[in-house]
Structures are given as structure tokens and as C-alpha cells.
Symmetry: C2
Subunit: 250 residues, 2 copies
Amino acid sequence: MSVDEPEAVEAFERLGLTSYEAKVFIALHRLGSGTARDVARIADVPRSQVYSVAESLEGRGLLEIQQSSPIRYRPVDVDEAQDILRDRFESERERAFDYVDRVRQESTGEETQEDIWTVRGRDRVDDRVVDLLSSAKGRIVFGTRLPELVTEPIERTLECAVESDVEVLAVSRTDAVREQLGSLEGVQTDSPPSHHGEDHRSGRIVMVDDDGILLSVIDDDGSETAIWSSGSLFASVLIQLIEASTQTPS
Amino acid sequence: MSVDEPEAVEAFERLGLTSYEAKVFIALHRLGSGTARDVARIADVPRSQVYSVAESLEGRGLLEIQQSSPIRYRPVDVDEAQDILRDRFESERERAFDYVDRVRQESTGEETQEDIWTVRGRDRVDDRVVDLLSSAKGRIVFGTRLPELVTEPIERTLECAVESDVEVLAVSRTDAVREQLGSLEGVQTDSPPSHHGEDHRSGRIVMVDDDGILLSVIDDDGSETAIWSSGSLFASVLIQLIEASTQTPS
DNA sequence: ATGCTGTTGTTACGATCCTAAAAACACGGC
DNA sequence: GCCGTGTTTTTAGGATCGTAACAACAGCAT
């Protein structure tokens, strides 16, 4: 009982249906088939509206109409309906990104601007970490307190880096993290210098070569926010500062 | 050059973005990165609106924000954006159909109601034909004038039926159709009796056992509309009528 | 046949919500 | 002051929601 009806209706709305369409579609699946009256009774949709809403759903291929009196409606099979919606999504996605692909500016390869970017949300940060890691040419430093921030795609990217002769160093105060990453072939592990303050809101740190860095924190509400930079002077300077403090306790 | 910008914006709208969001997203991919002013200039969006629209896009994970003055925006990689939208779609689809699956009425297996259903659209008719064919227990008659109405899934379903010891008869006036279906192992072919009138608006006919039938026509605008029935008295009677006229010319 | 009742399908219309679009405003640098 | 940035408010338009009125029709008792 994880999803109740209002939630399901909202999900359908985000898939592009109106709330009436969602309610009628759900009602017809509960009924198997039925008339406008049957639907209106259990769907909380005015009967007079059922006719046009059903026509719209028929246009999407989500139900079939029996021309009789009274008119009867019948939903298509759930799997068929999912295929229809998925096909629609994929075709729209293709149309949209076709155009973006054509007009987008070729990525400038090496960033030259002095940019520090912000990324909000764990999944987005994960993606950015993988991006950064896979751009490594010579050396990676990866650190985090939290085992759950070492995802499987990140591990795979680290292994891939090792295979490309990239030096990979995993730093953590947490034993579990060191064990997890140390078990990867060719990954060295270490503990952070004791003079580094520990902040319970720190998330992860990633340094790539001498010019790529990502630093994340855990906000009060538990969400993760990261800043990152690549190929910028900021990144180089930050990395030098951090590396220096690592090697030369102040 | 198959997709122009307005079309792409519409496609993004159907993917759940507003038109402003779509325009800003596209503009940022053309720019690589830029400020609200840059975006407003080429995106046909009021500059004052770019800020909030960009925040909304950041919330969806489609772009990143550089906290500086002026604020700079940077779109995520196109592939990453597609993954994000696809993940969102799949999770909504799952939520929606989870509920439908839980509350839907178990299909009554054998239909008992006297129902004749209408299906509009070639793809939908294709689906229904496959459904019907795969319910066959003993005998299938499949007929059409038009080679393009013999799709690959239909062929596969016919082959599958043959393997289940279902007698499959393909009927067509068109040589190409007879050849195409005759090449399938175990499928017999035939021409329709000459006394049957030929109507250029006829589409296909499918008869399954003695109680499943589908009949389609091609509308004036080229679209296909089918009626079908399964397990009903109507279906049985129609089939008997048609079979009788086949065997006993009036 | 007549009148009554309930259902069906169509159409119209106001209320509401969201977005698009414009405008007003505060702030800071030059 | 003047210009550009960023925030906020306001207005208008469109789609959806929700109610209501209507004609057509079937069933049923008078």
C-alpha cells in the first residue's frame, strides 16, 4: 500500500494526463469496463465530463469505445498502456534532443573560464563526481566520511582510472570507507591528517590532477550540495592549498 | 533540419517543461554557459524571468548555477539530461501503474458480455490483432489486401500460433501478401472467393477459433479503424456468416 | 395515447489555477 | 546620476475543473 489514489493521479499528471484523464483511466481499470455513469460514480469526475475525457484518452490509445447505448468504455491492457506512454516519451525526447544536439555549442574541451559551479542533490553530485573522475589523467584523491557516498558507478570509474595508469588515493576517517575502496585493485588508502578539523556537515572531496576539484557538504535537511571547478585557476589554487596543508601541518 | 526550435520547445513541453524552461534550456546549450542576460537575448524569454526559470531547471537537475555576479548558468551534458528525464519518467510510470495494477479488476479471461469494441489508429489495431491472434486455440484466418498491415510482430505471433498446433490460414487477393505469409512455416494461403466484393476501403479481417473477430477499414484520411469482439455471440454469428459465404457461394 | 420519471449524451458557462508577459522596484558599481 | 543585475508584483490569457441546463429517449403507470 505504498501508493494511494491521489498519488497515482499526480503521477499520471506528471506523465502528461489531466487529473480527470487519470481518474477515468484508473476507474476503468478497476471496473474492467463500464459506462460513463459507472465511471463517474467511482472516479469523482462529473458524468457529463466523462464523455469528452474518454474521447481524449481514446485519442492517446489508452482506452477503447463501444458504440452502443449507453456507450461503454474499456481500458487497454496495463502493459500496452505503459508501452504507449513510453513510446510517446521516447519519441518526444528524441525530437527535443535532436534539436539541442544540432544547435549546441561544441564543448570547449578544456575549460578556460574561472568558474566555480554549484550542484544540488545527491544524484546530481554523484553524476558530477563521475564526470570529474573520468577526466583524470594522472592522479585522483577521493575522500568522504560517509560510506553511502561511495556508489557503484564511482567505484567503477575509479577502477577504470587505475587501468589508465591514474594514481588513485582514497582518504577517509571511516574504516568502512577505507576498506571498501581499498579492496579495489590499485587503489591506495589513507587517513586524513589529524590536524584537519572534522565537521559533521562535510560530505566528500574529490581532486583530479592539479586542476579539478569538487567539495560537497550535507545541508541541515540532509541534502547534499557541492561546488566544483575544473581547469580553472581557482581549482588549481584550492588543490595546492589543500595538498600543502596535507603535507605540511601548519 | 527536421526539427526547428518551436517544435523542439513543444516536445520539451510534452516532456513536462514549461515553454520558458524549454527555451532557457535550449539557449544554454547553444551558449555552452551564460548569464541571465545572455540567455534572455537569444531565448525570447524576459530577462527578469530567467532567474526563476533557471532555478526551476536546477531543481530538476538540468542545469547548474554559478554563484557570482552576474550569476552564470551552465547546462548539464545532453546525455545526462536525457538520463535524468528518462529516470523521472520511469519512476512516475512505476508509481502510476503500481496503483493501477493493485486496484485493477482481474481480467475475466473469457469475455461473456455482448460487446463490440472500436479501435482507432493503425498501431492500436496492430496491438489488438496481436492480442487476438495470441488467444487462438485452434484456428486462425488472417486476411488483408495491404502488405503494410502484415507487421513483424504479427508474423511472429502467427508463427507462435503454428507451433501451438493452431491452424493458420492467410487469405489475400494480393500476391505479395500471400507470398509474405506463405513463407512462414505451416501457414496455408488462399485467395478470397471471387464472389466477394472488393472494396478499396477494406483493411484487414481476423478470425480466431469460432468466437474472435476483428474487421478494419481504411478511413478517407488514410487512418485505420477496427471493430472487434471476442467470446461474444456477435463474434460467433459473424464468423459463421462469413465462413458460410466462403464455403457456399450464394 | 398521455404524462411522469429517470437516464443518456451534448453543450454552455463560471470558477480556479498556472503560465506568459510586463512592469515596478531595490541594490551596487561606474 | 546612470546603467546593469536581481527580486518582486501585477496583469492577461488559456486550460482545466466543476456545475448546470438541455434535448432525446426508454420505461412505466394512468
